[in-house]
């Protein structure tokens, strides 16, 4: 796919019209990457689906959809969590950070740069979750040794097997003073 298919920040899509069924709809405010969004959605909507389908933030990825692969990892009040196992309605009043919220304008976050420098991905599908998780891993103080990084990054699977280079990227950022 060309770059054009991956705009850095897709314009938010319009809120889908309320479905004509009679299932419960929640009106809620999501705070994502420092911005508040007033939205209406089915109470069943996961945070992952809210981010992707209601806000057009497609960085967090659906992988297993059961909390096992970590491709959907986001920060909620600074803590990494699986957006696929979090109801959007349950995150009101909390601050959500996605991969789209890491860079400062055109300047990549050090962890994003380190993933490029260390070739820490192949297909890239798990990468947004890996990067968010890696940032939290360093902030938690769990990036001491390669072994510790592997243990505390175990919630993020990479089917391409880029683990050795992911560990190097995390070590690099940790050594340069953190995330």
């Amino acid at each position: 796919m060309s770059e054009a298919h991956h705009p850095a920040a897709a314009p938010p899509r319009a809120v889908p019209p309320a479905p004509d069924g009679d299932w419960p709809i929640a009106t809620l405010t999501l705070r994502v990457n420092g911005q508040a969004h007033r939205l209406a959605m089915d109470t069943r909507t996961t945070l992952l689906d809210a981010l992707r389908d209601h806000l057009g933030l497609t960085g967090a990825k659906p992988g297993c959809n059961q909390g096992a692969c970590g491709a959907c990892t986001v920060l909620i009040d600074g803590k990494r969590m699986n957006a696929c196992l979090t109801l959007a309605v349950a995150t009101q009043g909390q601050e959500i950070t996605t991969i789209e919220g890491l860079a400062e304008g055109e300047a990549l976050h050090p962890m994003q740069q380190a993933f490029i420098d260390h070739d820490a991905f192949q297909c890239g599908y798990c990468t947004p979750g890996q990067i968010i998780s890696a940032v939290a891993c360093i902030r938690e103080g769990h990036a001491g040794s390669a072994e510790e990084i592997r243990e505390f990054m175990s919630g993020n699977l990479c089917r391409c097997g880029a683990y050795p280079n992911i560990v190097k990227a995390v070590q690099d950022v940790a050594a340069k003073g953190g995330a």
């Binding site: 419960p24 069943r44 996961t46 059961q66 969590m81 699986n82 109801l87 349950a90 891993c137 919630g155």
Partner: protein
């Protein structure tokens, strides 16, 4: 998922009332087990009662010779709480091995105990330490609480509000993690405390259980050698693609030895 209404009460009384009014409503704490079940349409609650806004379910406190942990306390809090690390370090170490960081940041001790997954970690600790499960209407000893696979002594609409762990003299834990899911293939928690010696086993059978032969042996001689020749019968243990009942029976002995060594 089937559709459901969503309520987030801010008091225990309101949550109990909502559950009493609607027998098909279900509490949700971390959602780490309930949401996957709902996605598979294994459950059809009319409403989810989110327990995360209830202050009475939070907090870790020392009460006399026990550590009392609120139902909504997350696994990462158990793993890092200074009071638990000082009083029952094996419990903190156990919590640190549950799933992965993302799971530990949302999953709660109350949700895990109420769910009673055969491979969940905490039930073995509750049994070995002689914990008391505190609900909105009564106190249930751990021995009576874990009834069977995904089944507890709680009645429909009953809410777990916390768990009280007597502080042991010594305690240790060892498990063999399934390398992919990281759930326990078999784990053993051992404790020597005010109520005597407890040995709790998870992952091996349809429900966590106490290994009483090992308890007697450890009461006489607290050392890994004391359990080294005790064989767990394989009859009632799980056999699946990950391991046979005989393999798990052997793991009970191996993990018990390691748990005693871990306790020191």
């Amino acid at each position: 998922m089937y559709d459901f209404a969503y309520h987030k009460p801010s008091s225990l009384a309101d949550a109990v009332k909502l559950l009493a009014e609607d027998p098909d409503a279900k509490p949700i704490s971390g959602g780490m087990t309930l949401l996957p079940a709902l996605k598979h349409r294994l459950n059809m609650p009319t409403a989810l009662i989110d327990l995360s806004g209830i202050a009475e379910l939070r907090g870790i406190k020392r009460e006399g010779d026990a550590i009392v942990i609120g139902a909504m306390v997350k696994h990462f809090e158990v793993a890092t709480d200074p009071q638990i690390m000082a009083a029952i370090p094996a419990l903190a170490r156990m919590a640190a091995t549950i799933g992965d960081t993302q799971v530990r940041n949302r999953g709660t001790i109350g949700g895990s105990l109420a769910n009673n997954d055969p491979a969940a970690d905490y039930p073995a600790a509750a049994l070995a330490l002689g914990a008391t499960l505190i609900t909105d209407r009564r106190q249930i000893p751990a021995d009576d609480f874990f009834v069977g696979m995904f089944t507890t002594a709680m009645e429909p609409g009953e809410l777990l509000i916390g768990v009280s762990f007597p502080i042991p003299e010594k305690a240790g834990y060892a498990k063999l993690r399934n390398p992919a899911s990281r759930y326990s293939m078999t784990g053993v928690f051992v404790a020597k405390g005010p109520k005597g010696v407890g040995v709790g086993v998870n992952g091996a059978a349809s429900c966590a259980f106490r290994q009483k032969e090992m308890e007697a042996a450890l009461a006489a001689n607290w050392s890994p050698e004391a359990v080294a020749n005790i064989r767990q019968p394989a009859n009632d243990l799980n056999s699946d693609i990950h391991g046979s009942a005989e393999y798990r029976a052997n793991l009970v002995t191996v993990m018990a030895k390691r748990a005693v060594a871990d306790a020191g």
